[in-house]
């Protein structure tokens, strides 16, 4: 197993280099110039000299191959340089936002798992009953409803309900505070986006749990377990659910990785200054260094999530060996 993990980690290197080359090339194919966007963003005036000074500052005066070599060297040193937009180190820009996205992703995952696995299991056990219909309807609604739209509705509902109750509308704070500084305030900020995202996440996971459970419940070993007189709770929990969780765990891993950088619109709706919002900003401003670093971060998160999923596979299904 350890050898497998080390092999997987080594394989990360070519994956990162491939992704780096791809994002480096793609960013430079987008028409536009960060210096022009920056100098003209407020409607001000600028000239060729100002653009040239800006190019020199952000390293765009160098040839593209030199820029790529510098980028790759920086990649191996874990030094992506300064953001072309703000001049601050890219690591500083990302670290300021990462805890927010991480917290929402974790909370959303917990919410999704708590909802999806019990409901998905019940739905499968009571296939075609009214319970199953209700669970499937909730799941389909979750998949069909965009998180950002749900987020807008949640905020409006909070405003309207609090206004109706107390006469004064209330909404969660729009400036993030860390969990360690003020846990209550922090929770009031992240709970709405986490529930909003968690609902969609749980809907997908619920459907996967249900279909995996239905498949497993028809297996011979389940019939055998029941035939030998094992109580239903043990049949479901020990034999069916554990095996049905294999595809569910894969899904949870992928979804979690997606949430780290993918909460683009949800973060905007709730004014969360997370990685998703930073991603949009970086692409919009054509901030090559920041975009490249964010893509690298996303790749690393996906690779790590996949690795964790693989390790969990072995735990869930002892037949799986990676040696």
């Amino acid at each position: 197993m350890y050898r497998y993990i080390i092999n997987r980690l080594v394989l990360v290197i070519p994956t990162l280099v491939g992704a780096a080359a791809l994002v480096f090339a793609l960013m430079r194919l987008i028409p536009g110039d960060i210096c022009v966007v920056r100098l003209a963003s407020g409607g001000g005036t600028f000239n060729a000299h100002a653009v040239a000074v800006c190019h020199a500052e952000v390293g765009l005066d160098q040839s593209v191959p030199v820029q790529f070599v510098n980028f790759v060297i920086g990649l191996f040193r874990f030094d992506f340089g300064p953001s072309m937009w703000s001049g601050k180190p890219v690591s500083e820009e990302i670290l300021a936002r990462l805890p927010i996205s991480l917290e929402v992703a974790l909370l959303a995952t917990v919410i999704a798992v708590l909802i999806a696995i019990p409901l998905g299991t019940i739905s499968a056990l009571k296939q075609n009953s009214w319970t199953d219909v209700v669970v499937r309807t909730v799941a389909i609604a979750g998949i069909a409803t965009p998180s950002f739209w749900l987020g807008i509705l949640v905020i409006l509902a909070i405003l309207d309900i609090t206004q109706a109750i107390s006469g004064t509308p209330w909404m969660p704070p729009i400036d993030y505070v860390s969990l360690w500084d003020d846990p209550i305030r922090n929770l009031s900020i992240v709970i709405c986006p986490a529930v909003t995202v968690g609902y969609r996440y749980s809907a997908v996971t619920m459907r996967m749990t249900r279909s995996a459970m239905l498949e497993v419940l028809r297996e011979d070993y389940i019939r055998t377990a029941r035939a030998k007189g094992l109580i239903e709770k043990l049949v479901v929990n020990r034999h069916a659910l554990k095996n049905a969780l294999l595809p569910v765990v894969t899904l949870i891993g992928i979804e979690f990785a997606f949430l780290i950088g993918g909460l683009v619109v949800t973060e905007q709706v709730f004014n969360l200054n997370g990685i998703g919002r930073l991603f949009v900003l970086a692409v919009q401003n054509q901030d090559y260094t920041l975009t490249q670093a964010l893509v690298m971060l996303t790749v690393v998160v996906f690779v790590l999530c996949n690795l964790i999923v693989d390790v969990l596979y072995a735990w869930l299904d002892p037949r799986i060996r990676y040696a």
Partner: protein, 536 residues
């Protein structure tokens, strides 16, 4: 009422702070204390350096920490000509035939680190604005082509020596981005102010959380005794409009200073009633339709004139104003300026005729004469709703009424600039957005590329440059006004180099307990917040 227009949204209760209401407010005695929380519709400023940046995100986040030499009167910011001292003691009269301006600097001003501010700081800051050293940029250096030297002969005097007298100088000097920085710091590290804040303004910098908030506390040593009234300020960055509107509704924020569209205003008025005040003004920003003269058939002035003649600005303005941040029909000069064209003057120009049927008939005739009846072309637009996409969609509909088939291509800001700078577009929706109203400089956008590098019309026009050069050097108001009319006629009518469409409308809803702040025609102006107080 051109400058300060009241609004009444859907007949719902809102206190309209117009010029008259401002007089009533002035009678209230300011209360001290409290923290003003406002939203800044951006993800954060690229840097804190006002000399370098052009975005309102920088000025909204940092102006309260700095002083400037002169400014638009904060008690009369709607004026385009009422300049008052900030760091100087008295507005000077120029000498040497208008070429020398001598400012005496207040001696009671302290930096936030406790050291005294002198004329040397002011002069050095202005030297950096006017002519930045190698490796530095100044976003507004081009506004100061008339400045020859900035000197500080002693610790209390700053002298600006001009190459030629011009009325463009004083409005330029009131630039709200022209923060006065400490000479020692600038000389040690000219980039220091990009990432740090240390000024002499009404508030001291307290903290900045990247992309989250900027905070300041009252400067007890502020040189205007009694000000600021607030204990502190908090600027929250919130790029999404829905968040800002909800935050104001829930009183998480009291206002935003850039401007909300009519729909957001109406929603807030409906929700908050008399807990909200709304200030409105014409905005020193206007959309213009830039035509690529190097693309056929737009090299033909008849085609360019036809494009202008097809647009019914007079009837379009009131309709669009209900849904978009636009309001006033105007020429090349901000409508609130004394130098702006009057309605009867405008109506003589191509694109502003009062009879739209006659105008469109002429457009069709010109297109037929040019052999391009029913032609198709592409309008490039920026992917910003307010008001770009509204204006773009509107003009396409107007053009369809003379048989033109226009496809709108909406692109992000980067590719939008790329298309304009590369000259790869047919026609593009642009904006001319300026700060302090300075008509002589603000019309620079219309000058050919050889003079004004950010003109994307791809044309050269020596006659236009000659008129401009005469105009910028003319200090007699009547003659200056006549020259501006000549310039305007040449640009919009004779050559139809571009089409000036509607001037924007600035709408600022605020919680009604916010007092003292008055709207101006620019979202860059009047942002030091020294005179703001909370009636709670």
């Amino acid at each position: 009422m051109t400058m300060m227009r009241g609004v009444c949204a859907a007949g719902l209760a809102a206190i309209l702070t117009t010029g008259a209401a401002g007089v009533v407010a002035a009678a209230d005695a300011p209360k001290r204390g409290g923290t003003l929380t406002y939203v800044i519709p951006a993800d954060g400023p690229p840097s804190f350096d006002g000399h370098r940046e052009t975005t309102f995100a920088t000025v909204h986040a940092t102006a309260p920490f700095y002083s400037v030499l002169i400014r638009i009167n904060p008690n009369d910011p709607g004026s385009t000509t009422d300049f008052v001292c900030d760091l100087c003691t008295q507005m000077p009269k120029p000498t040497d035939d208008g070429k020398t301006w001598t400012f005496k600097i207040r001696q009671d001003v302290k930096w936030h680190d406790g050291s005294p501010l002198t004329a040397y700081d002011v002069a050095t800051s202005w030297q950096y604005v006017v002519r930045p050293p190698e490796g530095m940029t100044s976003a507004r250096a081009s506004y100061f082509v008339m400045v020859d030297k900035v000197e500080a002969p002693d610790a209390s005097t700053v002298v600006f020596r001009l190459k030629f007298a011009t009325d463009a100088f004083l409005p330029g000097l009131a630039d709200p981005f022209a923060y006065v920085y400490k000479k020692d710091i600038l000389e040690k590290d000219p980039h220091w102010y990009e990432k740090n804040i240390m000024g002499s303004g009404p508030f001291k910098f307290a903290s900045y959380d990247v992309g989250q908030s900027v905070k300041g506390v009252r400067n007890d040593d502020y040189y205007r005794k009694g000000q600021p009234y607030l204990d502190g300020i908090v600027g929250l960055f919130a790029p999404k409009q829905a968040v800002r509107v909800d935050a104001m509704r829930a009183d998480r924020a009291s206002l935003e200073f850039r401007g909300l569209p009519p729909s957001a205003r109406d929603q807030l008025v409906k929700e908050l009633g008399d807990k909200l005040t709304v200030q409105t003004s014409d905005w020193n920003c206007g959309n213009l339709i830039t035509i690529n003269h190097k693309k056929k058939p737009f090299d033909d002035v008849r085609v360019r004139r036809a494009l202008a003649l097809a647009i019914d600005q007079w009837n379009g303005a009131p309709a669009l104003a209900k849904i978009a941040n636009v309001h006033t029909v105007g020429g090349v000069v901000f409508p609130g300026s004394p130098l702006a064209a009057k309605k009867e003057e405008l109506q003589k120009l191509t694109g502003f005729w009062p009879d739209i049927n006659k105008s469109r008939a002429e457009a069709k005739r010109l297109l037929k004469e040019a052999g391009v009846e029913g032609m198709s072309f592409e309008l490039v637009n920026r992917n910003i709703d307010q008001p770009y996409k509204f204006v773009g969609t509107w003009v396409i509909d107007e053009w369809s009424k003379v048989g033109l088939k226009v496809n709108q291509r909406v692109v992000p800001t980067g590719p939008w600039y790329e298309a304009m700078r590369g000259g790869t577009f047919d026609v593009v929706v642009e904006a001319n957005c300026q700060g302090v109203v300075n008509p002589l400089m603000d019309v620079g956008k219309y000058l050919p590329h050889a003079v004004y590098t950010e003109n994307y019309g791809q044309y050269e026009d020596q006659k236009e440059i000659d008129i401009y050069n005469a105009m910028i050097r003319e200090t007699d108001f009547a003659k200056q006004r006549a020259l501006i009319r000549q310039f305007e006629t040449h640009v919009l009518d004779t050559e139809a180099h571009a089409i000036q469409v509607l001037w924007w409308s600035r709408i600022i809803p605020a919680r009604s307990y916010v007092k003292g702040w008055k709207i101006s025609p620019s979202h860059f102006v009047n942002q030091d917040l020294a005179n703001v107080w909370l009636d709670k």
